[in-house]
């Protein structure tokens, strides 16, 4: 498989794991020390860039923090997370920005359709995403997922399945 095809396969696997709520599979796609980052916006055109000094919408350092979110989503103790929403993630415009044997940098666009069953409302969150993939145990893993959410006026809430 070409590097681009491998990147595609991983992104599609991520989207499918989210849509099918296979959380352990989703977590397994990330490296232990991954960075999952969704910056906030400073103004109409400028996202924040330095999470140490500026606000992010989500900033999770390490797979353990992603696992905390999964625990909250699945644990039945968060009224915002129940009943589960139905989602369809559409991934497109996948491009390889950098490629070596050890790492890939991949750009893509995500349209994440979320239907909240209890509220009977739906929303499409769209973002420009950059993945850094590294090879671990002969498979690609996500070392960094940076999603620039473009429609950031959030209807009630947003969680990892909305991105």
């Amino acid at each position: 498989m070409s590097a681009l095809a491998e990147a595609n396969a991983l992104l599609f696997a991520e989207a499918a794991a989210l849509d099918e709520r296979r959380w352990e599979d989703w977590l397994a796609l990330f490296t232990e020390d991954c960075l999952y980052h969704v910056p906030a916006w400073r103004d109409e055109v400028t996202p924040t860039t330095d999470p140490r000094t500026e606000i992010s919408i989500i900033h999770c350092a390490g797979r353990a923090q992603l696992a905390e979110r999964v625990q909250r989503i699945t644990g039945g103790r968060s009224v915002a997370s129940l009943p589960p929403p139905r989602t369809a993630h559409v991934v497109g415009n996948v491009m390889l920005v950098e490629a070596s044997d050890a790492a890939l940098r991949v750009k893509s666009v995500w349209a994440s359709h979320v239907f909240n069953v209890k509220r009977q409302d739906q929303h499409v969150f769209f973002s420009r995403v950059e993945h850094t993939l590294v090879r671990q145990d002969s498979a690609w893993r996500i070392a960094r997922r940076h999603a620039l959410l473009l429609n950031d006026r959030l209807p009630t809430m947003l969680d990892i399945y909305s991105l």
Binding site: A40, E54, S56, H59, Q71, R77, V79, M157, L158
Partner: protein, 440 residues
Amino acid sequence: MRRADIAGLVDDRPADGVFRVHADAFRSRQVFDLEMATIFEGGWCFAGLDCQVPNPHDFFTTRIGRQPVVVQRGGDGVVRAFLNACRHKGALVCHLQQGNARTHTCQYHGWAYDSAGANVGIKLLRQGEYTPAFHAESHDLHAARCENYRGFLFVSLNPDVPPLAKHLGDMATFLDLIADQSPDGMELLPGTVTYTYRANWKFQVENTGDVYHFTSTHPSYIDVLAGRKAKDGAGADTTTYARFREKELVRGSMCFAHGHSAMWGSNPTPEARPLYASLDEVSARVGEARARWMLYVRNITVFPNVQFAENASLQMRVIRPLAPHLTEMTGYCLAAKGESPAARERRIRQYEEFFNPSGLATPDDTTAYEDCQAGMQAGRIDWHQGYMRGMAVVQQGGDRYAGELGITPQTSAHGGFEMGDETIFHGPYRYWRDRLVAGA
């Protein structure tokens, strides 16, 4: 609406031990329109911070009630507010959230205004064959009252309001507890998050002072903190809530004139606060009592539209009602200037995790408001029972804790964490009722 109908929305009988609010306060369009006209557009509202317009000609745009407003520092250094609506046909003259501009030129027919809102140009004026009546009118942008209390900017679309200091009264002390945290003052960190929820704005006012909900609304957040603690011991006591059950905690509330309210509580993990590192300096500057209060959990509402929540981190949240059942919120992270990079980063992470609508706590609050709004369609349950905890201990005036701050609230109450005081809502609803009745 008739005055008696509005007055009847609050069942306020302290002698009988009763305080109730009618569900129409949350679901009636007529009530909402009256709230907008009398409370939001008829009195002081929070607009933003002085540090958002540090230089001459800096501006930001906002809304006061339903109305678009520009807040701008003029060339003379004075911060003013004016309606963001051209005098020609009403188009917005300022299109950005923030920026710097000596003039605002309307892009429809080209009328121009300076940074103090004065008209400085009407395109083709001489050729316009205007009548003297036109020339006799002011063409300046409509001015609003704008006053600054220690960097907190308030705007009133109604010119006939008391001075801001009188409106704030002793509530100002709780703003001091924010402003004084650093000798250099506070700053607003870049990056805001805005969200909407499908419920009435007053659910947000209530929730910020609601101690009672925490353990039942946020068990998933409490689980996360417990999980971290189990994993790496004391190192996980990094937020105010990490050990909230383990120590003798006092929780109290105060209501002030004009609808303001404050919930406060002693802090089981003061060392988790960035401020803790500079406690000696702060104590020397503001005294031991106020320094200690700065480390307390404090959730305050400056009625009607701004809240400061200092617990896991320090959030400023601005409430913008859009409809009886729809509200927009914008959250801002405030921080003491000059804190260490490590403290700053920890503040930001705690902020995001607790306060963001994409975090581990706020979505559960917001969803609960939506559930209340949906449940309130049950027309037979007109009166709710959510305002009576703490009524047996609430006292007129200040308790000894208010005395530590040298302030005199209208009412105060304190007890253990589990009392979950609800008298904190009484002052806001009494003022709300009085304003609506006066404006009806």
